[in-house]
């Protein structure tokens, strides 16, 4: 199977070609590039928590409406936490 980045690159190439199935207009692609460049320019990546920092704890509902606490998970072992923007 292709690596995650290879699949992302493939998607990006297909989207930015402007061809079906996405038929993305040139202006849309430009707009997205502009937004990413502006976001990078704010320095937000440098401000995010990094290696060595203490991870904030959390207690949140999962997809079955069960409360999950990071402290409980960490008692069992290390945790991989992925921040995901959404299903869209």
């Amino acid at each position: 199977m292709a690596s995650l980045q290879e699949r992302l690159d493939e998607f990006k190439k297909s989207f930015e070609s402007g061809a079906p199935p996405y038929n993305a207009p040139h202006e849309v692609i430009e707009t997205m590039h502009r937004a990413t460049a502006e976001l990078k320019g704010t320095g937000i990546e440098q401000r995010a928590l990094k290696v060595g920092d203490r991870a904030p704890s959390f207690t949140l509902f999962n997809e079955e409406h069960v409360q999950v606490a990071s402290a409980d998970l960490l008692r069992q072992g290390p945790l991989v936490v992925s921040f995901f923007r959404g299903h869209w």
Binding site: R7, M32, T36, L49, N62, P78, V81, F83
Partner: protein, 133 residues
């Protein structure tokens, strides 16, 4: 793609005694549907109003011009997140050790760039092999 990629390593992650959780600002009705659709075996947690993402300092507000563009695609984030501001977390993947310290951090403002799940596995192996954890 991130979620499918994480699903691909989940059994190995569990074998190392570790767990994966995904945090998203989306409400439970969306996480439930997504969890089912992708047949995930780890939890998706609703980080309501991005409270935890804020604490990790990952949150940004979409500029007006992008908000309009997403709306035209049908991505109504106000509805997905139950708030009127169009805010999102930067894509990020962290490894936290049992003591609560961040041991790996992959953060990128460009959402088309992600680190490989294999890399995360490798980092976890190193971490779980060390006597301090």
């Amino acid at each position: 793609m991130e979620l499918e990629a994480l699903q691909g390593i989940n059994s190995e992650v569990r074998a190392l005694g570790a767990q994966i959780v995904v945090l998203t600002p989306e409400l439970e009705r969306y996480t439930r549907a997504l969890h089912k659709k992708l047949n995930l075996t780890f939890d998706i947690l609703t980080d309501l109003h991005l409270k935890t993402a804020e604490e990790f300092r990952l949150v940004f507000t979409l500029p007006d011009y992008l908000r309009e563009l997403y709306k035209s695609f049908g991505s109504t984030l106000d509805r997905f997140h139950d708030e009127s501001e169009y805010r999102l977390p930067m894509p990020a993947r962290y490894i936290i050790d049992k003591q609560g310290t961040i041991r790996a951090a992959d953060v990128n403002a460009d959402y088309t760039i992600r680190s490989e799940p294999e890399e995360t596995l490798k980092q976890l192996r190193t971490l779980t092999a060390s006597p301090t954890d």
